[in-house]
């Protein structure tokens, strides 16, 4: 035995409510973030991620309140991301009870943010979210909810983030996201070769086999799941039981 592979439900939060939708359109309210987080904890989720997709000043303020309420009853790690720009944003969310904060666009725009945040708050709470788009045999970093190319090479970028003190990489394939046709395994493998910090695979899971491939062939430490869980196709426990039968070390 040793370290278990992690299953991490991701909840999209819009103005304090968990929503689901396809690529930010047709949003449908599905519940209260604090309640859903606890429900997933009880299903043996290993961590919870909240992503503030309102990404407005008002949304960010609401998120701090949501985190406060959630942290009172959530006894597994909570990561919060979406619209985080500054050290002050980090501090607010961590004081509210988040254990980790994920940054995406801000890490690219402000190249000293990862280093400063990890020095002040510790590497363990700095998660860099990277949206990767396949360009030929390479991947390019996109920001602004995956709409804006940066010219940065994903593999070089995550190496830089690790050197600057990032604690984990949340790696999303823009091409696979929402397709439910499987993770970009080559992307995960290339990232695995490049850095030693944990990689959380995101984007493309449509079946249990996909999750299994990300955690084994892809070498990811954790899988971030959204639609596979929110549509009640599977519970976290069912996913873990299936993975355990295939020989993946998971926590029960």
């Amino acid at each position: 035995m040793g370290l278990a592979k992690r299953i991490i439900p991701c909840l999209d939060v819009y103005d304090g409510v968990v929503v689901k939708g396809i690529r930010f359109s047709n949003l449908k309210k599905i519940g209260d973030p604090a309640e859903l987080a606890v429900e997933y904890m009880n299903q043996l989720a290993d961590e919870i991620v909240f992503l503030d997709i309102s990404a407005t000043p008002k949304g960010r303020e609401t998120m701090v309140e949501v985190v406060k309420k959630t942290a009172e009853n959530l006894f597994i790690p909570l990561t919060v991301g979406g619209g985080v720009r500054t050290i002050e944003d980090f501090g607010k969310l961590l004081r509210a009870g988040a254990d980790k904060v994920s940054i995406n666009t801000a890490a690219v725009r402000d190249r000293s943010l990862v280093r400063r945040a990890s020095r002040i708050f510790g590497s363990q709470c700095v998660v860099v979210a990277v949206d990767a788009k396949r360009i030929g045999g390479r991947w390019e970093v996109y920001v602004n909810a995956g709409t804006e190319p940066t010219g940065l090479d994903v593999i070089e970028w995550i190496r830089t983030c690790e050197q600057e003190g990032a604690g984990e990489i949340l790696l999303t394939s823009i091409d696979a996201d929402g397709t439910r046709s499987g993770y970009d395994i080559e992307l995960l493998q290339a990232a695995r070769m490049a850095v030693d910090i944990p990689i959380i695979a995101s984007g493309g899971a449509g079946s249990l086999q996909h999750v299994y491939e990300a955690l084994t062939t892809g070498g990811a430490d954790a899988a971030l799941l959204a639609s596979l869980l929110h549509y009640r196709q599977y519970s976290v426990i069912e996913i873990k039981k299936w993975l355990a039968e295939k020989g993946v070390e998971v926590r029960f």
Partner: protein, 192 residues
Amino acid sequence: MGNLASISASLRKVGASPRIVSSIPDGDFDGLILPGVGSYSGAFRKMDEERGSIEKLVGEGYPILGVCLGLQLMFNWSEEGNPGEEGLGLFKGVVRKLPAKRLPHIGWNNIEIVDGSVILDGLENNCRMYFVHSYAPTDYDPSEAFALANYCNYRFPVVFEKKNVFGTQFHPEKSWRQGLIILENFVKYCRR
């Protein structure tokens, strides 16, 4: 140091009334928790200001629990710190970087429990706890260690106890039911 909101919430969950203090008050409490995530030197400076008070409390038999970095401060020294930044020396040992290729050690690791622990009472052997760290005690006294973890084929101690002093390398406040059992045991010990 550390995520005080999480540890306070989990203590409330097990029926305690935690207070967050920046220096150790006089009396009127049953136990003390030294939480801690972040860098050793930052936490060391804070601890060093309170060294006298902590030593006094330990001597008087107050229950003290160190969590993660809070535990690491209880040893003789850590190589994460600067020379001369001596730990509390409540447990024997020196804290060193884990000899693993992939660090930090993040996630849910099983723990091999040694019989006779107060704070691990009621837990099943090999239950999983949430870890986030790159350093761990070495040259420790096995009679003070009550659980071990194995990561990248390296076994290291993760729970320490000596009379009224306790410590966990993992985060009980983030380890769901298993972690809450540990905090409940500590609170019970505080009220004994």
